[in-house]
């Protein structure tokens, strides 16, 4: 188990290979892990919950988690709840795009400038959620 003083938040992104919002969720998650909150966050590949063993499935019991889903099917949230534990917070990219009145984005393979700007904003929102979750642990 993770000691109380080792405060980390697990961020679990949907894989979303079919949609540009899936790419945004993965890249935003990577930005948080690598740049915005590198010392406060960890991740796991979502399908590892099923393919992996006990260690992977206990991920959400060891860490408070934030799920990041590309669409309202919310695979990351559902799979995390089913195989690991209830997430501390959930983010859905399509909801955020509506909130920000974003036009339809394209190119799931290579994010264009517009999609990269949105991805940066999503990453910032995830980082704020990380801070919020960590503040509740104190």
């Amino acid at each position: 188990m993770v000691e109380a003083q080792e405060k980390k938040v697990g961020i679990i992104s949907c894989s979303g290979e079919e949609r540009v919002e899936g790419t945004i969720s993965r890249v935003a998650t990577r930005l948080v892990l690598g740049k915005l909150r590198p010392n406060e966050t960890v991740t796991i590949c979502l399908p590892l919950f099923l393919a992996g063993g006990r260690e992977e499935r206990e991920f959400a019991r060891d860490y408070p988690t934030i799920t990041v889903d590309g669409c309202d099917k919310m695979c990351a949230k559902i799979a995390t709840e089913r195989y690991s534990g209830k997430p501390a917070s959930s983010i859905v990219i399509t909801d955020m795009l509506k909130e920000w009145h974003c036009p339809k984005l394209s190119s799931r393979r290579k994010l264009n400038d517009e999609s990269l700007t949105v991805t940066g904003k999503v990453a910032q929102r995830i980082a704020e959620e990380v801070d919020e979750v960590l503040s509740r642990l104190v």
Partner: protein, 139 residues
Amino acid sequence: MNTQTSPQKKVIIIPCSGIGKAFGSISRDATYEVTENLRRDTTQTLCLALLVSGDQESLQLVRENKCITVDGCPLQCAEKNVRYAGGNLAGSLRAVDAYKENRHLKPRSVTFLDPDGQQMALKLAGRIAEKVDDVLEGQ
């Protein structure tokens, strides 16, 4: 002899969701190269997480069509999850196989593929496309 032609089924290419290593990103990029360019009329991809979460349409898709999985690491989540879902697995490839044949390439970047990663993705895409052809010839 039955002269009726059945509707063309597509080969489903399912990459791993690897988010922590370059090989996961390479498996996805290779999948996009096949489904959007090399074999766009005969293939499509599917969110692995959607399949894992038990989505009925996804389950039906992998059971009624031939599937090729493309994994980024030895845990082989894509292959295992397609098998677990009762999918019609026709082939499984690994990004590391493309690496073994192209050791001069050193992909490092995960979030956005560097030139070596992009090149390896194209090599892997070629192998996937060959596998697609094999699968379709066998149908």
